[in-house]
Each structure stands twice: as structure tokens, then as C-alpha cells.
Amino acid sequence: MIIEPFQYFSPQSLDEAFEILSEHHGEAKIIAGGQSLIPLMKMGVEVPCIVDIKKIPGLKAIELSKDGLGNVSSIKVGALVTYNDIEGSNPVKKNLPLLAKTASGIGHPLIRNRGTIGGSLSHCDPAADLCATALALNARICITGPGLKTRSISADEFFKGPLETDLQDDEILTAVEFPVSAMKMGYDVQKLTLGHGDFPVFIVSVSLHNDGKKFTDIAIALGGVGETAVRAGECESLLNGRESITDEDILEVSKMITEKYDPPSSAELSHDYTLDMLAVYTRKALINAVQMVTG
């Protein structure tokens, strides 16, 4: 039950949305899928005014950009694209399989029908699935502000802290852009949850390329182990540029991860266990990713 009354607006354009946001400055919250905002309001967080952006055209598209040779060079996913849409999009499955796989593993079907990429990244839960994968895939966040002024920043700069981003009160996240590489790629996402479909305790999202000679662009993104999702840079450099990656290398990296990062414990899972699991899940993700390119 939401106890406090609130105003509800459903603007038809970005312009109109910014008008409402400025009129209710500091009091208004954007609502997309509502899968985080509504639960918060039910828990008693007061939101005097909600601005529903679902009627604004143009925020639901998945757009491909191509390079001079006609190869896909990047994909722009509109803020309102749901997890389900991502999971079902052929261009995403083909060019950004890690994104598709991540989306398909979020929560339950009901959540995936409504939750949006824009909402997930703006909400910025440190353990959210898409936050980790956005980092692993070097996503750029496209933002529009009053006067339709646009800017774009890297996911890394965008995530500021738990439930805190670089978005200003009067800005809207409009899309997320992912670079696409033509190189052979390997990827995996692994997470520890308390139960099937529950929010991750932590998540490991891995992406890597292989140009036929060596491994490049190793990305190991972790969620749930700190204030925001993070990239395990030192561990990545250990593997970057290698001609081969062995089980021993992976074990070493997994161990290193547990020395640098600290997953949370809970009434049900002790710290010893979650730390052990961080190594296990990192190893699983890396092994799967490496196997994809080495066959």
C-alpha cells in the first residue's frame, strides 16, 4: 500500500517532461518500469510527484550504427527498452550476446516484462545485473537535459554510488550505447543469489576478444562488492594480451579478486561463503568466456 498521495504526470514529449520536472523541481521522480520505484514507495519512501516517460516517443528503439564496411559498429538501446525486449532482439543477441544473456537472467518474467535498461542504470543498485554488464561492455550513457541539451558519458563515470548517478534532477537518461567489435568474442555472466530470481548478492560479468593471436579487451566487471559496480582493472591487465589463458591463470585471477573485493554477507550466507563463491563464480565466468574463443 502506498500511503502518501502523489501527483502523476504522463508527458507526451521530452519538452513537456522537462517542463514538469522544472515545475516540480526536487520533488519529481521519473517512472519507467516502476520495478524499483514502486516497491520503494510501498516501503514508505515519499515521492510527491511522478513523471511517467512511457508516452514519450523515441525512447523504445534499438538502433544500429554501421562502419564504412557495413559492419555494425555500435548499438544504441533506448531507455525504455525492457529486459524482455533486449533478450528477444536479434541484433542484440547477435552483436551483444552478453547483454542479452544478462537481461534474460534478471529477476522473474514479470520483472523482465516491465523493468527497463534506463531504469536499471539510473537506479544504480550496486548489484544490479545490467550495471555490471554495462561496465563490462564499455557502455556510454546518453542523457538529455532542459532545452534538449544532450551529453554522453561512460558508464564508469555515470555510476557515482549506491543509488546515485551523475544524472541531475532535471535530466533524463534517453539511451545506452554499446560499441560492437567484429573480433571473436567470449563472455559470461555469473551471479550468486539467495534464491532463484532474487537480486544478486554479487554478479560477475565477463567479456573478452581474441584476434586470432591473443586475448584483448578483457573486461571483468563486478557488482555487489562495493559502492557501485566496478571493473577489476588489475586482474584484467594480468590476462590482457596473453596468447593463451590457462586454468591456473584463471585460478590466480579468481584468487586475486577475493583479495581486492569484498562481497556482503547476510543472515543466510556467511562472509566466508560469499567470499569463496566470489572466486568460484569468477572462475566459472572466465573459464566459460575463454572456452568460447578457444573452442
Binding site: 500500500m1 500511503i3 534464491g195 532463484h196 532474487d198 543472515a267 543466510e268 556467511s270 561463503y273 568460484v280
Partner: protein
Amino acid sequence: MMEAVLERQHAKSHVSEPRIDARERVMGLAKYTADWHVKDMLYARIFTSTVPHGIVKNIDSSEAAKTPGFVDMVSCLEDSTLWEAGEREHVRRVFADHVRFVGDCIGAVTATTRIAAKKAASLVSVQYEELPASFNIDSTLGNSNLKIWDNGNTIGPLKFEYGDAEEEFRNSQVVMERHYSTSRLHNVPLEPAISLAWWDGDNLTVVAATQSVHGCRNGIAKDLGLLPEKVRVIGYYKGGGFGNKINSMNYDLIAAICSRRTGKPVMVEYSREDEFINVHGRWSTDQDLRIAADRDGRINAVEVKANCDIGAYTRHMKRGHFIEGPEHYYSTEAWNAEIYGVYTNTPATGHMRAPPGPQSAFSVESLVDEMAYELGMDPVEMRFKNYIRHPNSGKFTSNGFEECITRGAEEFGWKQRWKRPEKQNTRRGLVTGVGVAIGSWHSGLGHGEAIVSIDSTGVLEVNTGVVDIGTGAKTTMALIASGEAGIPFSDTRVIWGDTETSPFSVGESGSRTTGFTGTAVREAARQIRSDLLSIGEKVHGISSSKLEIKEGNLIHSGNGNVISSVRELMHASGNGRITKSVTTEPALKEGEERFVFAAHFAEVAVDLETGEVKLTDYLAYHDSGEIVNRLTAESQVQGGIVMGIGMALTEKLLISKTDGSIENPSLLLYRIPNMAQIPKIKVFFTDTIDPYGPKSLGEIPIIPVTAAIGNAIFNATGVRLRNLPFSREELLRELKGKK
């Protein structure tokens, strides 16, 4: 009358009808209590104790009263109504002045809207004189200053024994001793507690989410000092209860009290959090078991010593029976049980699907498994050797246990799938294993009432006091009547769920509806058929002994020809509606015992690196006598097993160590299993015919589940888990320890 029932030797039923109210439920047309809107209706919200144990000294409602929409407040300071069904051993008030757990109900605020009621209730401030409190069994047993109840903080011991256990333990070749524990659980019905009440002079009407309209009426009448006929309880549609909507509930009384004070209809509605805290769940157990066997696998004796955390109040009716059941699984020389209920300053406990059944089966069925492996025996063989053939004295009315075990093992492919556990050499990947557990449960006989009639158009009407809490009872009653009277199911109507219009029924608890009320329905329908045959004789001049009623037609039994439809017959007779009102009181003969039996088989896959357990296959084989409706019977079994899966793998009420409050009163944190965790569950029934008709079914399916899964985990890994729910962390620790 009984002779008629005893004569029945129906072949195994292949009837499989969807519930008659399936459409309205799925389409949202079914009117649940929360869907009722009565003119001028007000909303009440309870406010509860913030301390685990204390005496209420003062209540300040001045802030609450300022809330727009506030109408009234009632509390323990002015209302001392007792709730008899709320605590079986002591006196419990609807509004506690002596609060015994965080969440104990102190009073209620009535307001014009749900939101105003919730807001106002949150603003009531209560002062307490705090008392020493205990949040677990050990601290209750070890604290002499503690007075949860004046006459002691425990119930018991309940002793159950036969044979000379000590002698058996002395003389048996192998003795094992183990400790097991189970956790506090919650029933988690989809529909949280709710009640709507209004008064018309001194007549009270309650629209209740109850498992029994008559039980509810009688309880309310008693507690409010009314004659039962002054109270009408309506209960048409329910979202489940699994035992926690049994009899009259405190929220029914609160709705009635608030309505009497305000002169308006009042709805009391619990949130999911209220439901977790204020409505009882399952008690936890701490059990020490001993088993004595011979090398050939013969079990000679079992000893059970247990303490059970029953919270601040126990709603369990049978005094002290907190561990019960396994004494009827096996034929042993001796059995010795000593059980205590231990009060703690935590929320109440009481009925939840086979109240003591699964806790008791878990320990005994795990221990028997441990003994089988100790003796190097196949666990199915061990069960087969020892399963109960006859009760200690007398005989079972029917016993399909053997079929459950042997046919179940065959259907599951046990012989091919079961392997002796090997030492795990690998450290990674998945390992699989299979487990078996058996169980039995009582199947009583008792008072049933029904009114069955046939009108001039040939439509059969069945009127019983069932509420259909989710069991499909309406459909079952209609099927019994239609089958017995010879009228098509599609021409059968049901009247139910209202004390004003329907005769008494025990309601849906204790697996009793089909047996108790169904017996009366069957007899009434038989009388209808017999009347129709007499009418046939009169109208057509053919001896009734040569007539039959089938599928709504009068038939010549000699040549099978249709003589007329029942509709034409009713018309030709010139009779109006024929009504049969029947009360049945079947009773077992001296020395007879009536039980249901089951054998369950599970397969799990365990991730050796993470300790995660995935249930990959499940098969249940049940003897519940004649099955009236396969579809709903199968659903009952699957539903019980799903609850058992929760108990085994995911569910646990987390009780705070500092104030005994529930730390996870939400579906986010208290995890019932979801579809992804549930394999396809195969259900089989034996062909057993019981002379007294269909046996019980609703409760037994949950009983063997936890042990079947635990035994499969052992078979997969060699690790024996003895605490519920099974913890992947504990499993992993043990796996590592073994290497």
C-alpha cells in the same frame, strides 16, 4: 445406512474434472472477502506490541485521533474479549494487556479509509512495563525468572510408548543416535487474513476468510457471548489457508468488536507483513533420535526426544502432540517418544498442513536412511522390510503401503538410478543422487451433513457447508453426488459456504472434508436415486429392482434401454423438488484403524563447488483409497510437495536474537519456492478400496518430502544434512571437510 456405504466397491475412478469455479477464479469474477463493498464500510487496522514481553501500562491515541478519517480506537484497556481458539493451554485475549511477542495485538484503529487506518494505527503510542523474555528453546529452559505463562513455560512431556525400548536398544546389533532440527515456517496463503463484519441489532454477519464457516461461527458466538444462531458466517471464496484460517480468528472478532463500537460495517485487512507476524505458522523442532536395528535390516526400536519452539501461543489442538506420525510408518518392537512444547516470546504457532507431520517425518525418515546406508542396504529395501503391515493391535481398514513403495520404486526406476555413494574424487561439476522417504497419516471418520435435492427439471443440487479453501471441495462434493445419483456432472449445482443456508461441515482442515461431509453427500444422493427408481416403478410399472439411473436417464437394467430422461420422469411424476437431508456418523469398528500411506522419490543435482542443490525429478505414490477426482487430487499432492520443497530448500522464518521479532516478514525475504525450482512432479495413486469410502489426502503429501530430498543429497554427495532448511553453505563445508 452404513451398510450402503460398505457395499460400495467402485473401480478406480478415472474422473478428472476441472474445478467448477475455475473460470470465475481465473477471470477475477470470484468475490473474495477483500472484494466486498458494503455501504458505509469502515476499515480497521491493528496496532501491536513493540516489546517482546511486558504489561501494557498506558496507551496514548491523541496523535492517532488527529489523522483525518480517524473514527475510533479500541484497545486492551477497555476491551477484554477472550479468543478461545487463539491459545489452547491458557487464556488469550483478542487485545493483549500482557504482551508476549513483538507484534502481539494490543488494539485496533477504525477509520474511513484503509490508508487513514494504517496511518492512525502507526501513531498510537504504548507504554509498557517490560518483563524478561526468551527467544529460543534453550533460553526458555534455562531461565528461572522467565514467566511467559504463570503456570510454566512448557507443555509436556507428551509420552508415547509401546514395547520395551530399553531392552531393544540393549539387544539390537546396531544402534545409531542423531540430532535433527527443523525451522519455524509460515503458511503463506496467497490471501492474507481478512474479515468483514456488521451488526443488525444483535445479529452479527461476518464475511470471513475461514477454512470452516461453522467452526468460525461457533467460535465467534462463544467468544462474544452470543447464541450461534445469532451469528451468520459467509465464506464463498478463499485464497488458501493451509491451517492458519482455521476456526474463528482474532481478526474476525476484531471486525465484530470494531463494528459494534462504531455501528458501521468494518473490514479488517492484514498486510503481508501482518500476516507473517500475527497469524500463526509452523513450530520448529529440536530432536534427538535413537534407532536400534539388526544387521538384516530389521528395525527394532525408535526413540524420539524433542523440544519444540511453539512461540508465545499455541493454536495446536491436540495437547502436546508436536511430534507425531512416524510411529505409524514402521512395525517396530518398541517406540518411545517424549515431547515438550516450549514457549518463547516469538509469534504464535499452530496448524500448518499436517501440523506435526513433516517435522516428525524428516528426522525419522532421515535416520532410517542413515541406518540403511550403515547396514549397506538399499534404502527402498529397508523400507520394504519394515513398513507397517498392521497396527500394534487390530487392523487397518485398508493398506496400500506396499504398492506405494514397490510400484513407486518401479515407476521411478529406482533400481537403475540408485547407486551406492562413492567417494567423491572430483571437486567441480554436478553430481546427482536419488532418495526415498515414506509416510503415513490418519484418515478419520466423522460427522457429516448434506442436503441434496433434485428439482422438476432434473437438476441435482448439493448443499453442504464446505468453503473450498483451495482443495476443490465444491467440485468433489458435486462429483460424489452426481456419481451416486446418476445425474450428469454438468447438471449438478453446488450451494456452499454460508451458515445461513448450508448444513454443518467440519470445513477444510485435517483432511476431513471428503471423508466426513462427502459421506453424507453420498448417502443423500443415494436416497435421491432410490426415490427416482421408485418413481420410475410407479410411472412405468417396472419393478424398481430392474431400473437404474445413469447419466440423467432412467434405464432398464435388463436390456439397457433408456426409458425416459430423469427430467421427463420428474415431470411425469407430478412431484416437485425431492430433497434429502442427511446426517451421517460413520464410525470405525472395534480394533480398526484408518490410515493413508505414501512413498516419495526424489532426484537432486548438487554443484560441488557452490553447494547449490537443484531438485531435478520427483515422484509420489499415494494410497488415499478411492480417488474422487484425479485432477484435483493430483493438484493437492503436487501442492503439498511444493510446500515440502520450500521446507527442505528455501523457507525459514528468521527470528531476531535480540527481540524475537520476525526479520523476514515479506515474500522478498521469506522465500517460497518458485516455478524454476520445482521439477515436474509425477503423481500416482494405488487401487486401494477402503470400505468406508475415500480416505484423506490433503495433508500427507507434504510429509515425506524433506527427507526424500535430504536422502537424495546424501546419495549424491555422501553428506548428511540434518537441519532444515538444507543450507548450501553447510553442505559445502561438509564436502570440503570430507576431502
